[in-house]
Protein backbone atom coordinates (compact mmCIF):
# COMPACT_ATOMS: atom_id res chain seq x y z
CA UNK A 1 0.00 0.00 0.00
CA UNK A 2 2.66 2.54 -0.94
CA UNK A 3 0.68 3.62 -3.99
CA UNK A 4 0.32 7.16 -2.62
CA UNK A 5 4.09 7.71 -2.70
CA UNK A 6 4.28 6.05 -6.10
CA UNK A 7 1.52 8.26 -7.50
CA UNK A 8 3.29 11.38 -6.21
CA UNK A 9 6.42 10.28 -8.08
CA UNK A 10 4.46 9.65 -11.28
CA UNK A 11 3.00 13.15 -11.10
CA UNK A 12 6.41 14.73 -10.42
CA UNK A 13 8.15 12.92 -13.30
CA UNK A 14 5.37 13.55 -15.83
CA UNK A 15 5.09 17.24 -14.87
CA UNK A 16 8.84 17.78 -15.14
CA UNK A 17 9.08 16.16 -18.59
CA UNK A 18 5.99 18.00 -19.82
CA UNK A 19 7.44 21.35 -18.74
CA UNK A 20 10.76 20.56 -20.42
CA UNK A 21 8.80 19.83 -23.63
CA UNK A 22 6.91 23.10 -23.17
CA UNK A 23 3.62 21.21 -23.30
CA UNK A 24 0.23 22.71 -22.50
CA UNK A 25 -1.28 19.48 -21.24
CA UNK A 26 -0.41 15.83 -20.63
CA UNK A 27 -2.94 13.45 -22.20
CA UNK A 28 -1.41 10.01 -21.68
CA UNK A 29 1.20 8.43 -19.41
CA UNK A 30 2.75 5.06 -20.27
CA UNK A 31 4.06 3.07 -17.31
CA UNK A 32 5.95 -0.22 -17.43
CA UNK A 33 5.40 -2.35 -14.34
CA UNK A 34 6.92 -5.80 -13.87
CA UNK A 35 4.83 -8.62 -12.46
CA UNK A 36 7.09 -8.78 -9.40
CA UNK A 37 6.46 -5.13 -8.45
CA UNK A 38 3.77 -5.02 -5.80
CA UNK A 39 1.64 -2.19 -7.15
CA UNK A 40 -2.12 -2.22 -7.53
CA UNK A 41 -3.12 -0.40 -10.74
CA UNK A 42 -6.61 0.53 -9.50
CA UNK A 43 -5.19 2.07 -6.35
CA UNK A 44 -2.71 4.23 -8.29
CA UNK A 45 -5.58 5.28 -10.58
CA UNK A 46 -7.67 6.23 -7.54
CA UNK A 47 -4.95 8.49 -6.10
CA UNK A 48 -4.14 9.81 -9.58
CA UNK A 49 -7.62 11.15 -10.24
CA UNK A 50 -7.44 13.24 -7.08
CA UNK A 51 -3.81 14.31 -7.25
CA UNK A 52 -3.64 15.31 -10.94
CA UNK A 53 -6.51 17.74 -10.55
CA UNK A 54 -5.46 21.39 -11.13
CA UNK A 55 -2.12 20.30 -12.63
CA UNK A 56 -0.79 20.06 -16.16
CA UNK A 57 -1.62 16.33 -15.91
CA UNK A 58 -5.32 16.80 -15.18
CA UNK A 59 -7.36 14.23 -17.07
CA UNK A 60 -4.30 12.33 -18.31
CA UNK A 61 -4.89 8.64 -18.91
CA UNK A 62 -2.60 6.19 -17.13
CA UNK A 63 -1.57 3.12 -19.17
CA UNK A 64 -0.07 0.17 -17.32
CA UNK A 65 2.06 -2.20 -19.37
CA UNK A 66 2.63 -5.30 -17.28
CA UNK A 67 5.78 -7.32 -17.93
CA UNK A 68 5.72 -11.07 -17.38
CA UNK A 69 8.34 -12.28 -14.90
CA UNK A 70 11.14 -14.36 -16.43
CA UNK A 71 13.72 -16.20 -14.36
CA UNK A 72 17.23 -17.23 -15.38
CA UNK A 73 18.46 -20.53 -13.93
CA UNK A 74 21.99 -20.29 -12.53
CA UNK A 75 22.55 -24.03 -12.89
CA UNK A 76 21.40 -24.88 -16.44
CA UNK A 77 21.28 -21.29 -17.80
CA UNK A 78 17.72 -21.92 -18.98
CA UNK A 79 15.16 -19.10 -18.96
CA UNK A 80 11.48 -19.55 -18.16
CA UNK A 81 8.30 -17.60 -17.45
CA UNK A 82 7.25 -17.54 -13.81
CA UNK A 83 3.63 -18.61 -13.44
CA UNK A 84 3.33 -18.09 -9.67
CA UNK A 85 5.80 -16.51 -7.26
CA UNK A 86 7.77 -19.58 -6.28
CA UNK A 87 8.65 -22.38 -8.60
CA UNK A 88 11.82 -24.21 -9.58
CA UNK A 89 13.46 -24.28 -13.01
CA UNK A 90 11.23 -26.56 -15.15
CA UNK A 91 14.29 -27.94 -16.96
CA UNK A 92 16.53 -28.98 -14.06
CA UNK A 93 14.53 -28.36 -10.85
CA UNK A 94 16.99 -25.84 -9.43
CA UNK A 95 15.89 -22.96 -7.19
CA UNK A 96 19.04 -20.97 -7.87
CA UNK A 97 17.28 -18.38 -10.01
CA UNK A 98 17.79 -14.73 -10.77
CA UNK A 99 15.21 -12.32 -12.11
CA UNK A 100 15.71 -11.74 -15.86
CA UNK A 101 12.54 -9.68 -16.31
CA UNK A 102 9.56 -8.66 -14.20
CA UNK A 103 11.00 -6.14 -11.75
CA UNK A 104 10.56 -3.16 -14.09
CA UNK A 105 9.07 -0.04 -12.57
CA UNK A 106 9.45 2.98 -14.84
CA UNK A 107 7.71 5.61 -16.94
CA UNK A 108 8.33 4.90 -20.61
CA UNK A 109 6.82 7.99 -22.23
CA UNK A 110 4.11 10.60 -22.05
CA UNK A 111 1.89 12.12 -24.72
CA UNK A 112 1.43 15.86 -24.55
CA UNK A 113 -0.46 18.61 -26.34
CA UNK A 114 1.38 21.67 -27.50
CA UNK A 115 -0.27 24.93 -28.47
Amino acid sequence: MHELAVTESILEIATRHAQQAEAARVTDIYLVIGQLSSIVDDSVQFYWDAMAENTICHGAQLHFKRIQARMLCQDCQGEFELASQLEPCPACGSYRLTVAAGDEFYMESIEVEKI
Binding site: M1, H2, L4, A5, V6, S9, I10, E12, I13, A14, H17, A18, Q20, A21, A23, A24, T27, L31, L36, S37, S38, Q74, Q85, L86, P88, Y95, R96, L97, V99, F105, Y106, M107, E108, S109, I110, E111, V112, E113, K114, I115
Partner: protein, 223 residues
Protein backbone atom coordinates in the same frame (compact mmCIF):
# COMPACT_ATOMS: atom_id res chain seq x y z
CA UNK B 1 -2.73 22.03 -31.14
CA UNK B 2 -0.26 19.20 -31.83
CA UNK B 3 0.13 15.94 -29.98
CA UNK B 4 3.68 14.83 -29.24
CA UNK B 5 5.13 11.77 -27.63
CA UNK B 6 7.89 12.53 -25.13
CA UNK B 7 10.33 9.74 -24.26
CA UNK B 8 10.84 9.54 -20.50
CA UNK B 9 12.35 6.17 -19.47
CA UNK B 10 12.78 7.14 -15.83
CA UNK B 11 12.49 4.87 -12.82
CA UNK B 12 9.35 5.83 -10.91
CA UNK B 13 11.26 5.84 -7.63
CA UNK B 14 14.19 7.71 -9.16
CA UNK B 15 13.85 10.69 -6.80
CA UNK B 16 13.98 8.36 -3.79
CA UNK B 17 16.95 6.45 -5.21
CA UNK B 18 18.94 9.65 -5.76
CA UNK B 19 18.46 10.70 -2.14
CA UNK B 20 19.33 7.15 -1.06
CA UNK B 21 22.62 7.51 -2.91
CA UNK B 22 23.33 10.76 -1.02
CA UNK B 23 22.54 9.03 2.27
CA UNK B 24 24.95 6.23 1.40
CA UNK B 25 27.68 8.77 0.65
CA UNK B 26 27.04 10.61 3.93
CA UNK B 27 27.26 7.34 5.85
CA UNK B 28 30.42 6.31 4.01
CA UNK B 29 32.05 9.68 4.62
CA UNK B 30 31.24 9.39 8.33
CA UNK B 31 32.55 5.81 8.45
CA UNK B 32 29.21 4.47 9.66
CA UNK B 33 28.09 1.01 8.53
CA UNK B 34 24.32 0.88 8.32
CA UNK B 35 21.55 -1.69 8.46
CA UNK B 36 17.97 -1.33 7.20
CA UNK B 37 16.11 -3.49 9.73
CA UNK B 38 12.71 -4.68 8.51
CA UNK B 39 10.06 -6.97 10.01
CA UNK B 40 6.37 -7.27 10.66
CA UNK B 41 4.93 -5.52 13.74
CA UNK B 42 5.86 -7.38 16.93
CA UNK B 43 8.68 -9.49 15.45
CA UNK B 44 11.11 -8.08 18.03
CA UNK B 45 12.91 -5.33 16.10
CA UNK B 46 13.58 -3.08 19.09
CA UNK B 47 14.41 -6.04 21.37
CA UNK B 48 16.90 -7.24 18.75
CA UNK B 49 18.51 -3.79 18.54
CA UNK B 50 18.82 -3.70 22.33
CA UNK B 51 20.44 -7.17 22.34
CA UNK B 52 22.83 -6.06 19.61
CA UNK B 53 23.79 -2.96 21.59
CA UNK B 54 24.35 -5.11 24.69
CA UNK B 55 26.65 -7.46 22.76
CA UNK B 56 28.73 -4.77 21.04
CA UNK B 57 28.59 -1.74 23.30
CA UNK B 58 32.11 -2.03 24.74
CA UNK B 59 33.79 -1.40 21.41
CA UNK B 60 31.12 -0.20 18.94
CA UNK B 61 29.23 3.10 19.05
CA UNK B 62 25.72 2.44 17.77
CA UNK B 63 23.15 4.97 16.56
CA UNK B 64 19.52 4.14 15.88
CA UNK B 65 16.84 5.67 13.70
CA UNK B 66 13.36 4.57 14.73
CA UNK B 67 10.62 4.72 12.12
CA UNK B 68 7.00 4.68 13.28
CA UNK B 69 3.71 5.60 11.70
CA UNK B 70 2.41 7.06 14.94
CA UNK B 71 3.96 10.07 16.73
CA UNK B 72 5.30 8.10 19.69
CA UNK B 73 8.84 7.82 21.05
CA UNK B 74 8.46 4.45 22.80
CA UNK B 75 11.23 2.79 20.78
CA UNK B 76 13.67 5.73 20.74
CA UNK B 77 13.22 6.11 24.50
CA UNK B 78 14.32 2.48 25.00
CA UNK B 79 17.50 3.07 22.98
CA UNK B 80 18.29 6.37 24.72
CA UNK B 81 17.78 4.64 28.06
CA UNK B 82 20.78 2.37 27.35
CA UNK B 83 22.95 5.36 26.45
CA UNK B 84 23.01 5.26 22.67
CA UNK B 85 21.82 8.11 20.41
CA UNK B 86 18.43 7.51 18.80
CA UNK B 87 16.05 9.64 16.79
CA UNK B 88 12.42 8.92 16.10
CA UNK B 89 10.96 9.54 12.67
CA UNK B 90 7.21 9.80 12.40
CA UNK B 91 6.15 8.82 8.89
CA UNK B 92 2.77 10.50 9.30
CA UNK B 93 0.80 7.38 8.52
CA UNK B 94 3.00 6.19 5.65
CA UNK B 95 3.65 2.46 5.70
CA UNK B 96 7.43 2.63 5.15
CA UNK B 97 10.51 4.79 5.57
CA UNK B 98 11.89 6.41 2.44
CA UNK B 99 15.26 7.97 1.69
CA UNK B 100 14.08 11.53 2.36
CA UNK B 101 12.84 10.58 5.82
CA UNK B 102 16.14 8.86 6.62
CA UNK B 103 18.06 11.93 5.42
CA UNK B 104 16.17 14.02 7.98
CA UNK B 105 16.97 11.45 10.66
CA UNK B 106 20.68 11.38 9.80
CA UNK B 107 20.91 15.14 10.24
CA UNK B 108 19.88 14.75 13.88
CA UNK B 109 22.56 12.20 14.75
CA UNK B 110 26.27 12.69 15.53
CA UNK B 111 27.24 10.55 12.52
CA UNK B 112 31.06 10.86 12.74
CA UNK B 113 30.93 9.33 16.24
CA UNK B 114 28.82 6.40 15.09
CA UNK B 115 30.33 3.10 13.90
CA UNK B 116 27.05 1.29 13.30
CA UNK B 117 23.72 2.83 12.37
CA UNK B 118 20.62 0.67 12.69
CA UNK B 119 17.50 1.96 10.94
CA UNK B 120 14.36 0.36 12.32
CA UNK B 121 11.84 0.47 9.49
CA UNK B 122 8.06 0.57 9.93
CA UNK B 123 6.61 -2.84 10.85
CA UNK B 124 5.46 -4.10 7.44
CA UNK B 125 6.57 -6.85 5.05
CA UNK B 126 5.50 -5.21 1.78
CA UNK B 127 6.23 -1.50 1.35
CA UNK B 128 9.70 -1.18 2.97
CA UNK B 129 11.04 -3.63 0.37
CA UNK B 130 10.38 -1.13 -2.44
CA UNK B 131 12.30 1.86 -1.05
CA UNK B 132 16.09 2.03 -1.03
CA UNK B 133 17.17 4.08 2.00
CA UNK B 134 20.88 4.26 1.24
CA UNK B 135 21.84 1.82 4.00
CA UNK B 136 24.51 -0.82 3.36
CA UNK B 137 22.57 -4.01 4.06
CA UNK B 138 18.96 -5.16 4.33
CA UNK B 139 18.08 -7.33 7.31
CA UNK B 140 14.75 -8.98 8.01
CA UNK B 141 13.61 -10.40 11.33
CA UNK B 142 11.11 -13.23 10.94
CA UNK B 143 9.67 -14.42 14.25
CA UNK B 144 8.38 -17.90 15.00
CA UNK B 145 4.78 -16.87 15.97
CA UNK B 146 4.28 -15.25 12.53
CA UNK B 147 4.21 -18.71 10.98
CA UNK B 148 6.37 -20.67 8.57
CA UNK B 149 4.63 -19.54 5.37
CA UNK B 150 5.85 -15.95 5.28
CA UNK B 151 8.55 -16.37 2.58
CA UNK B 152 5.86 -17.81 0.31
CA UNK B 153 3.44 -14.97 1.00
CA UNK B 154 5.87 -12.03 0.99
CA UNK B 155 8.47 -13.04 -1.61
CA UNK B 156 9.64 -9.54 -2.58
CA UNK B 157 11.08 -8.66 0.80
CA UNK B 158 13.01 -11.96 0.95
CA UNK B 159 14.50 -11.46 -2.54
CA UNK B 160 16.24 -8.23 -1.50
CA UNK B 161 17.79 -9.42 1.78
CA UNK B 162 21.44 -9.63 2.79
CA UNK B 163 20.76 -11.18 6.23
CA UNK B 164 17.84 -13.00 7.81
CA UNK B 165 17.30 -13.33 11.56
CA UNK B 166 14.79 -15.85 12.87
CA UNK B 167 13.68 -14.58 16.30
CA UNK B 168 11.78 -16.09 19.25
CA UNK B 169 13.26 -19.57 18.83
CA UNK B 170 12.35 -20.13 22.51
CA UNK B 171 8.74 -20.48 21.32
CA UNK B 172 9.45 -23.36 18.92
CA UNK B 173 8.18 -26.03 21.37
CA UNK B 174 4.78 -24.32 21.56
CA UNK B 175 4.12 -23.36 17.94
CA UNK B 176 3.65 -25.48 14.81
CA UNK B 177 6.49 -23.88 12.91
CA UNK B 178 8.06 -26.19 10.30
CA UNK B 179 11.62 -24.87 10.11
CA UNK B 180 12.40 -26.99 7.02
CA UNK B 181 9.40 -25.58 5.15
CA UNK B 182 10.31 -22.03 6.12
CA UNK B 183 13.96 -22.43 5.13
CA UNK B 184 13.00 -24.08 1.83
CA UNK B 185 10.91 -21.01 0.95
CA UNK B 186 13.80 -18.71 1.82
CA UNK B 187 16.20 -20.82 -0.26
CA UNK B 188 13.92 -20.54 -3.30
CA UNK B 189 13.91 -16.74 -3.08
CA UNK B 190 17.43 -16.01 -1.88
CA UNK B 191 19.77 -19.00 -2.22
CA UNK B 192 22.50 -19.22 0.42
CA UNK B 193 21.15 -16.27 2.44
CA UNK B 194 23.10 -15.65 5.65
CA UNK B 195 20.69 -16.64 8.45
CA UNK B 196 20.83 -16.50 12.25
CA UNK B 197 18.33 -18.17 14.59
CA UNK B 198 18.09 -16.22 17.84
CA UNK B 199 15.97 -15.65 20.90
CA UNK B 200 16.05 -12.14 22.30
CA UNK B 201 14.33 -13.60 25.37
CA UNK B 202 17.03 -16.16 26.28
CA UNK B 203 19.95 -14.65 24.35
CA UNK B 204 20.42 -17.83 22.31
CA UNK B 205 22.18 -17.19 19.00
CA UNK B 206 23.00 -13.54 19.70
CA UNK B 207 26.74 -14.23 20.01
CA UNK B 208 26.91 -15.74 16.52
CA UNK B 209 25.09 -12.73 15.08
CA UNK B 210 27.32 -10.28 16.98
CA UNK B 211 30.48 -12.07 15.76
CA UNK B 212 29.27 -11.89 12.16
CA UNK B 213 28.42 -8.21 12.52
CA UNK B 214 31.85 -7.46 14.04
CA UNK B 215 33.38 -9.08 10.96
CA UNK B 216 31.29 -6.93 8.63
CA UNK B 217 32.19 -3.77 10.56
CA UNK B 218 35.90 -4.64 10.35
CA UNK B 219 35.60 -5.34 6.61
CA UNK B 220 33.79 -2.06 5.95
CA UNK B 221 36.51 -0.12 7.76
CA UNK B 222 39.19 -1.55 5.45
CA UNK B 223 37.43 -0.38 2.28
Amino acid sequence: MTVNRVQVVENILNANDQVAQLNRQALDNAGAFSINLMASPGAGKTSFILKTIQALRTDVKIGVVEGDTAPVTIDADKINAVGMPAVQINTGGECHLDAVMLKAGLQQLPLPEIDLLIVENVGNLICPAAFDLGTHINLLIASIPEGDDKPYKYPNIYRGLDVLVINKTDLLPYIDFRMDYFRQGVEMLNPGLTTFAVSCKTGEGIDAWADWLRGRLAASRQV
